[in-house]
Symmetry: C2
Subunit: 154 residues, 2 copies
DNA sequence: CATGATAGACAACCTGGTTAACTATATGGG
DNA sequence: CCCATATAGTTAACCAGGTTGTCTATCATG
């Protein structure tokens, strides 16, 4: 069975999906029921210091318009806010609200918990080997995700 | 770095994405430029014997309407066809066309090649360990993917 | 034969993506 | 100093793929 090349991508996707589903179930339990799968990546890309729509689009590998729409949604549910840059009035700084920060912090902690569950199941050494192998097979630059919306779009 | 829980899902996704991108680049090179990332999963779910929209939806974890729309698209680009079931005229059998079959066959071979590349890089034993660990952490039933469109939708 | 279950189609809507066109602001060179 | 160009953001129109809800046609059964 392990010689079937189709299984590898499938398992990678299932594993990813499981982690993300568990993350969101837990986030919902902790008071963030409105987070969509994508938002975590977007908030991570916004980061604690804020960014702009154009930079965000570049970071996520989507157009500035798409990035803008997503920020609209984050703004609508109270996780991000926009403010004009005083030093360049073309730019609008996108920053996380305290609620957004909270969601981001909790996500990080939940991911750590989930990783610990994997370590308990597989053993820390096996998990580190797995992470190391994945790191070896994937691009170095962890950012420039290109992720949201890629599936089904490209 | 490997104690950062955020890296695991990210690497899983990047690895998946890489494989899928390489698959589609190679499929395009081999005469199938119109395949979208999802179609591979859908064609795999249709299988060599055909299925119906309802069954397909169940297999993919989406509604029958969504499955129907996707079949519309596969039909449009000549990879699937529909025919009324002679034994139950409510049902419409969805089958792959020869072109669809060809794409599916090539996909399987390309995935095998990609897996071989991973084996060459990581060693067959490490790769088998990786697959085995992923298998251990993900649901048993390989089908019922629940995949297409899940990201961004749920 | 009437009733209920099932398959499919259609419409309206949502999200997240795209291109394209437009406005407003910076910036740098004649 | 001013104009040309580049950049940030918005808006609009579209697409893909998903959802619910409704409707019709067919099957199967009491």
């Amino acid at each position: 069975m392990s010689s079937n090349g189709f299984e590898l991508p499938l398992r990678l996707l299932l594993a990813f999906r499981m982690l993300i589903d568990e993350l969101h179930a837990e986030l919902a339990r902790q008071g963030h029921p409105d987070i969509r799968p994508m938002y975590g990546f977007v908030m991570q890309a916004i980061g604690p210091d804020g960014t702009t729509a154009v930079e965000l689009g570049r970071a996520l590998g989507v157009t500035k318009q798409a990035a803008g729409k997503t920020v609209d949604n984050l703004e609508r549910i109270g996780y991000a806010e926009r403010a004009t840059d005083p030093r360049d009035s073309r730019r609008k700084l996108v920053r996380l609200t305290p609620r957004g920060m909270d969601a981001l912090d909790r996500s990080a902690r939940i991911f750590d918990t989930l990783r610990a569950r994997w370590a308990a199941e597989l053993g820390e050494d096996r998990l580190q080997a797995l992470e190391s192998d994945l790191r070896r097979m994937t691009p170095d630059n962890p950012w420039r995700l290109d992720i949201p919306g890629w599936f089904g779009a490209l």
